[in-house]
């Protein structure tokens, strides 16, 4: 028996879903249609129509921590965590490889699949002609979305597969962490990151906000280090974003000098504990008059996709007991 809805905006009969969110049978607009269990076409052909229940598939939205963990367990993968203030270009960077792959293999990488195609498409919408805007933009990640991961499976020139998870979290959250409003307990993307990228907005570095920009990122890094969220072998990138606009800015030298100064301050302060800190300059979606294609992104992605270096195991000091009996468990029997 079929259900028919009197609401013209409702496509219950086609999708099985009520536009007002009611369970089928509970909506006041729905009636049962006893006649339409068979469909008669113009030519008189009777098409059998069987009502059946609905089967759902994975939503293709951004991955929760649990789903991202499933990917990490199953395959060779790489977690890239992008941290920075709102509008620093975090999501634009996350979309950069996906957008490039839309037009064919990019550099050494080609597309092998994605679990988050809906999420990618929603975020890419404002950079496509279909949205009707004259200039490309990126969908902002709201604070309420929490932490999620965009997923891409790629194949490189050596025919090796790699699952990439790129974190996507509102810049506002990181501001709250720096200000102590948010604790670091929920900042799971940092401890698991294969590459941790701190984004510094090149455009804002060219404004009167320049000291605020550098100060904010220093406080954020210090907050994470003092909270012991970072591992000492973690690879860290300090990334100057929107480099196309920096490149044509009248303050280009000052911006680059501010960035270099920030980087050397961080290296001086934390370089001993975190020896793997590097700097990058990127333009993920450059003005085509400045750069024809994404600038600095290939270099950065190559570094991100590299396997973490294996750290030599350093054995702690072995005590050498004075009594021969206590030395029996030692591999050489305790002979000197």
């Amino acid at each position: 028996m079929a259900f028919v809805c009197s609401n013209p905006d409702c496509s219950l009969s086609e999708t099985g879903k009520c536009v007002d969110g009611f369970e089928v049978g509970q909506c006041p607009h729905v009636t049962q249609d006893e006649v339409s269990s068979k469909t008669k076409t113009d030519e008189g052909f009777i098409a059998p129509e069987e009502k059946s229940s609905i089967v759902t598939i994975a939503d293709a939205e951004i991955l929760s921590i649990d789903k991202a963990t499933d990917v990490l367990r199953a395959k060779k993968s790489c977690v890239i965590t992008v941290i920075g203030p709102s509008d620093a270009g975090k999501t634009t960077f996350a979309l950069c490889l996906y957008e490039a792959l839309q037009h064919g293999p990019f550099h050494a990488w080609s597309f092998a699949g994605s679990l988050t195609l809906h999420a990618f498409e929603k975020r890419s919408h404002y950079s496509r002609i279909l949205c009707g805007k004259p200039k490309p933009d990126t969908l902002r990640t709201p604070l309420s979305d929490g932490l999620g991961f965009l997923h891409l499976e790629i194949k490189d020139q050596h025919a090796d597969y790699l699952d990439i998870l790129i974190s996507d979290r509102s810049g506002e959250y990181y501001g709250n962490v720096a200000n102590g409003i948010e604790g670091v307990d929920d900042i799971h993307e940092v401890s698991r990151a294969d590459y941790l990228l701190f984004f510094i907005d090149g455009l804002r570095l060219g404004t009167d906000e320049r000291h605020g920009v550098t100060s904010d990122i220093k406080i954020l890094i210090r907050s994470l280090i003092e909270s012991n969220v970072l591992r000492s072998n973690q690879r860290i990138g300090l990334v100057l974003t929107k480099y196309d606009q920096v490149n044509v800015s009248p303050y280009k030298e000052r911006i680059e000098s501010d960035f270099d100064k920030l980087a050397s301050q961080i290296l001086d302060t934390y370089g001993n504990k975190f020896p793997n800190i590097k700097t990058y300059k990127i333009a993920a979606r450059p003005d085509e008059e400045v750069f024809q294609e994404p600038y600095g992104v290939v270099n950065l992605l190559e570094e991100c996709f590299m396997a973490n270096p294996v750290i030599d195991y350093e054995a702690g000091p072995v005590s050498f007991p004075d009594r021969a009996f206590l030395r029996l468990h030692l591999p050489d029997g305790g002979t000197r």
């Binding site: 009969s13 086609e14 999708t15 099985g16 879903k17 469909t39 076409t41 113009d42 030519e43 052909f45 098409a47 059998p48 129509e49 069987e50 059946s52 229940s53 609905i54 089967v55 759902t56 598939i57 994975a58 939503d59 293709a60 957008e99 792959l101 839309q102 037009h103 064919g104 293999p105 080609s110 597309f111 092998a112 699949g113 994605s114 679990l115 195609l117 809906h118 990618f120 498409e121 929603k122 890419s124 919408h125 404002y126 950079s127 496509r128 002609i129 279909l130 949205c131 009707g132 805007k133 004259p134 200039k135 490309p136 933009d137 194949k155 597969y161 979606r285 003005d287 085509e288 008059e289």
Partner: protein, 274 residues
């Protein structure tokens, strides 16, 4: 006798029913030799013959209504074996809804799970590409930033064709719709409309659906794939050229993956699947 089910999928108006209509005529009309031939007329043949009769009379097919699943059963013979082939004609909305609503009916899922191969249809001349907004300053006419212009909301069904089809193929390769290691055939339908470009189906897919092509080459979901350019109607059904053809089956054009020349044997894509 071997029994094989295949699943036929594709977005609305991608040529699924036209393919079945032409196949119906080719097999029942017995006008030309084919790699697979019909052993006997199927017991339940009303739908297949309905399509075939429309095809041979140059009559346009109506769109397959959503929510319907019309089953076709053919007993086919090749040089070596006899196969019971089951194929469904499902509406394009069924597959569009899989992308948009992330759901399908239990019947579709059941059929998909039992299928040994996937036949994916793409209308070669109705491809929505991913077109980025140029970032050139002069393209915006120096209107400043884009904040003053109202952007349209994202509509899932208007996503690039390659993205939608990749997502559907990924979904068909895992639970609850199926499993890995099935065969896959991609049909670029309405091939007559793009044939003048002089490309092979493989080259056409690479230039018009690059994301899908990368997925086909690199994925670990399917056991293998083949691409065919197919014109089931042979051209515009109103054109004199196809109406003057004395052997109707010769209207059919099937172009193998790396070729620009066509044959008429519409059973080749089926052979590749089973």
């Amino acid at each position: 006798m071997n029994s094989k089910k295949i699943i036929i999928c594709g977005l609305p108006s991608s040529g699924k029913s036209s393919f079945l209509a032409a196949l119906g005529h080719l097999l029942t009309g017995d006008e030309l030799p084919t790699a697979l031939s019909l052993k006997n007329l199927p017991e339940t043949r009303d739908y297949l013959l309905y399509l075939a009769q429309k095809w041979v009379r140059y009559t346009e097919l109506e769109r397959t209504p959503s929510e319907t699943l019309k089953e076709i059963h053919l007993t086919l013979t090749s040089d070596t074996e006899e196969i019971n082939l089951y194929a469904p004609d499902m509406s394009g909305e069924t597959w569009e809804s899989l992308w948009v609503d992330r759901s399908c009916s239990e019947k579709v899922a059941e059929w998909s799970n039992d299928a040994c191969g996937v036949l994916l249809f793409v209308h070669a001349d109705k491809i929505t590409p991913a077109v980025p907004i140029p970032t050139l300053k002069n393209m915006s006419g120096d209107k400043g930033d884009a904040t003053g212009v109202e952007a349209t909301e994202w509509i899932a069904s208007k996503s690039p064709t390659a993205v939608i089809l990749t997502d559907i193929l990924q979904a068909l390769a895992k639970s609850p719709l199926g499993s890995k290691s099935r065969r896959l055939v991609v049909i670029l339908s309405a091939w007559d409309m793009v044939r003048s470009m002089g490309l092979t189906p493989d080259e056409y897919l690479s230039s018009h659906l690059p994301l899908l092509q990368q997925y086909l080459i690199n994925n670990r979901d399917y056991a293998g794939y083949e691409i065919f350019g197919v014109s089931a109607l042979g051209g515009r059904i109103t054109s004199d050229t196809i109406r003057q053809e004395n052997i109707p089956s010769r209207r059919i054009q099937v172009v193998p993956q790396y070729s620009v020349d066509h044959v008429y044997d519409l059973t080749l894509p089926i052979m590749s699947l089973i």
